[in-house]
Symmetry: C2
Subunit: 584 residues, 2 copies
């Protein structure tokens, strides 16, 4: 037997007992003839002590220990003189009787501490060592707890977890599909699923009533900062439901997770905001409502003073940043540059500072009186000491820019603390999304999303105005989940495909088995999918999903540890009936 206890469980209750522990050497300190070894495992750290009375053998072995050696220690639990209240095991230490090295370690390429001295690349390469660090151990434990609690909760309310295939059909438009060549069916390919969307709808047709799955999804797209080629979803679908049923069910699940995982008891209904209001007030379809600073239209107040920039703009809007009335010229110049960055995209920034002496100083003093500007402040709920930031330009673009600026000011003002959570639903998303490049409408969610019945009359006349029974779950400005009620009526589905520009043959080709399935009695159904990696990151207080994935890939889709992807043999290619065809 390698151990009687773990390194996290001993305290004064075991005083006087002989115990055996195994683990890694966290550090060794020598102090006047005594040697102290911090022994670490997943459960904690226990201090071993090699005193003057220890045997020569134990002393010798203690001498030879290095960081990250794996050892087995036998000894007596004794009370510590200098207790460490910060450690669970801080009241005791183990007086060593026997010591055994189970496995030596070379010196690790970076320190295994809460804050490591290793850079990103080296920690990715030695991911198995990085994973020894406490923050990553905790991240994996959090992820495990989340998954367990999701399953437990959904099981209790009759959801059934069903595994859907990973080797699925590649669709003609599946540009983002990873494909898998088949050896048994040469020249043909499977695809890895971007989501189990079709399967979960089929499971509703099959009568499973309430389905979920914590499932891997794959997307072969150029990776942005916080994307991974494989990621995990909590995928859910319910039959015989309306939007209200879906929202209530998963609001329950989310509250359960907040409670058992974060200890946060949310005793109110999650706010629901329409897409239209979210865009208007927050310039975003995933508002961070931990703080106010809402966007307001200043058009009617600002126009008509011969200021061309304002008079000619489709939209004039602003936010009021509290207690920033004393921002310096330099700070304001910085902010101006910030809003002019291409990803924000404003032309310039109008500001007005309500200074402590009661005067208002602005970048547009030439056009507006003190009273005018005070009117703006009032309209935005501002007060003396605040700062008004105003953008002008195309409406949607400026709303989005103001939304970004709002978040930036929120960050600067520490209004976005990681341990405060503001969950919410955004509802009534548009059904269609116009694409400027291809000059056509696309399904904003996916082609099975049902429109609101009261908007169907707009289908041909004003498709952009048709709202969908589609909803997102948003926490702290991050979209964590999204879903919709699906179309279960064949006639409406045909209309939808037509609107999206599919010929009947194309629709058949791409969605054939779903369309067929719907011929045999599809129940009304709807669902939602949550980004599991992201939800873990939010709960862990991290901006990056990478810390919540045991073995992530880098921004080029490479696994630096295993050095993958890699070339394969000629023989393998031959068996797959493939040839490399480098693009010259």
């Amino acid at each position: 037997m390698y151990r009687t206890h773990t390194c996290g469980e001993l305290n004064l209750t075991q005083k006087g007992q002989s115990v055996k522990l195994s683990g890694w050497v966290q550090r060794v300190r020598r102090l006047g003839g005594m040697t102290f070894v911090d022994l670490r495992d997943r459960y904690g750290i226990t201090q071993l002590v090699c005193g003057e009375n220890a045997s020569a053998e134990v002393k010798n072995i203690t001498e030879s220990l290095g960081r990250e050696f794996v050892i087995q220690a036998t000894g007596i639990v004794v009370e510590r003189s200098n207790k460490n209240a910060k450690m669970a095991t801080g009241n005791i230490e183990i007086q060593l009787d026997e010591l055994k090295i189970l496995h030596k370690s070379e010196v690790p390429p970076f320190t295994i501490e809460d804050e490591s001295d290793g850079g990103d690349e080296i920690r990715m390469k030695y991911r198995y060592l990085d994973l020894r660090r406490n923050p990553l151990q905790k991240a994996m434990a959090l992820r495990h707890r989340m998954a367990q609690e999701v399953r437990h909760y959904l099981d209790q309310i009759n959801f059934i977890e069903i595994e859907t295939p990973y080797l699925i059909k590649s669709t003609p438009e599946g540009a983002r599909d990873f494909v898998v060549p088949s050896r048994m069916n040469q020249g043909e390919f499977y695809a890895l699923p971007q989501s189990p969307q079709s399967f979960k709808q089929l499971l509703m047709v099959s009568g499973f009533d309430r389905y979920f799955q914590i499932v891997r999804c794959f997307r072969d797209e150029d990776l942005r900062a916080d994307r991974q080629p494989e990621f995990t979803q909590i995928d859910c679908e319910m039959a015989f439901v309306e939007q209200e049923d879906v929202l209530n069910t998963f609001e329950g699940m989310a509250k359960h997770l907040f409670k058992v995982v974060k200890g946060v008891d949310i005793d109110y209904a999650f706010p629901r905001m329409t897409y239209a209001v979210a865009m208007e007030r927050y310039g975003s379809d995933k508002p961070d409502i931990r703080f106010g600073m809402e966007i307001h239209d200043l058009g009617s107040l600002a126009r008509g003073k011969d200021f061309k920039v304002v008079d000619e703009a489709e939209f004039v809007g602003g936010i009021c940043a509290p207690n920033c009335g004393e921002y310096s010229r330099k700070q304001l110049d910085e902010l101006t540059l910030w809003v002019q960055r291409p990803q924000v995209g404003a032309k310039g920034l109008i500001y007005a500072k309500w200074q402590s002496d009661g005067t208002i100083k602005s970048s547009v003093d030439k056009f507006y009186s003190q009273e005018d500007l005070e009117g703006w402040f009032k309209h935005l709920g501002g007060k003396k000491g605040d700062l008004l930031l105003v953008l002008t330009g195309a409406r949607n673009k400026m709303l989005s820019a103001l939304g970004d600026l709002r978040l930036e000011m929120g960050n600067r003002l520490d209004l976005r603390p990681k341990d405060v959570f503001a969950p919410m639903w955004v509802v009534d998303f548009p059904l269609f999304e116009w694409d400027e490049e291809t000059k056509r409408f696309y399904a904003m969610h996916h082609p099975f999303t049902s429109p609101k019945l009261e908007d169907i009359h707009l289908f041909e006349s004003d498709p952009g105005k048709v709202r969908a029974n589609a909803y997102d779950f948003v926490v702290n400005g991050v979209e964590i989940g999204g879903g919709s009620i699906r179309i279960h009526d064949s006639e409406l589905q045909r209309l939808m495909f037509k609107q999206l520009g599919f010929t009947e043959k194309e629709a058949e080709n791409q969605f054939g088995f779903i369309i067929n399935a719907f011929r045999y009695g599809a129940p009304p159904h709807g669902g939602i999918a949550f980004g599991f990696d992201r939800w873990c990151a939010i709960f862990g207080g991290s901006d990056s999903i990478r810390d919540y994935i045991a073995f992530p890939k880098n921004n080029s889709g490479r696994d630096l540890m295993a050095d993958s992807p890699s070339s394969i043999s000629e023989l393998q290619l031959k068996e797959l009936a493939l040839k490399l065809n480098p693009n010259s």
Copy 2:
């Protein structure tokens, strides 16, 4: 709201209540002016009745109903006159007030009944309809329950579920790997994992101590009757353990599953049998010990009677089939042909019947006296009325043939009931397996499996005799799990690679990141992986894993429903820098 109750929950408690149900029309019966509709959902069946007092509208709609229509019914719960005790809802029926067709259905291509009239192919093609059938609904529910209970049990004892990647490194010897071409790293490929073996060992190096995962695995091999290109494992690994710890831990898990899923309380320790004994007595490394009929060596009794077939054979062995002493000539001829099939591989069959009149009649009366044959029967524990079946030939081949024959006789004698479970451990597997074709040893389990320390002296002199710390979990003659204690000592690992004929470079190439990881303090560790699909099938009393997989593929690896794999576009191939290269 689509329903107030499900179709499985109403009984006399709700008598007189107005309820709303939704579901599928299972069948419609008309009986003297009344119409009875069986309404089905996942939870059960409820009888709707349209009586003479029903409204004209309800009557009309009832008239138009067909099988598998999706409907919504509102009505009053009334007590049934002809109660059906077999149904949970058999005491009540719903007197229809309102009826609404939510979705019509075409006539399904086969009947949605416990026993369907559809063949395999058509049911695969319309899998979403096959899944509506009760046996498959139950199979999925069983699978869900199993997975939940595995997770619950392992969570309770500190196991942590960690998701490992599906896009991993393709290894040069990975002939059975499915590969995934990378668009971002053209000319390079990921592989889909055959198992997360490397990752789980890395997680032990990372200090996660107790890991598990219910995880999909992929193997691109020619599919035999009951194999699938993707299958699911319960994958587990523990640090600081010896074989005994692993067996005890997972025996606990198995007992929990037997209890909560099957209601079978196993209050004894699972029998443990060495590989050597299993082969000798059962001719199999996965014995079905629900019945005896063990194999015995008859060599010393049978030899020396001038019967060449026996005298010249390396091995003479037999089994005794109880109560088959009156087998006819025709039955025995059949059995002879059965053992001569290539997959069994015996040359011929010697039999001896101890008939009810006390005489023994055999196929070898020319060589053996009644007393000789009675001696054989006694040696095998046989009695009057039994049948002796004897094979001669090469030892291992005949043991295996006798093992097959034993199972066949067990089937014929109904000694293998699906609702009796005989779990066991097979231990002490050989470390190496000799391959006649390539004339070299291979690792029987995998190259990280640790040998028994007491056998290490045989490593070079007699490698075939070296036993491993490897074990299988077997239920009813089916291998459900297997694992081993791993090598964590670099020196021993080097020796192992050498024995397997790897050069250092080859080992580095194939197992590089694992070997590297072991430089930084690997704990002693070991684990096990269970075939989840197979375990579900065993618990469900089925011979086929296919019924326990929601969307399985056929024997050619095809998904008949989605018609996958399929061709992809020239553009996609180009983006992947690949060209088709048909083998002519």
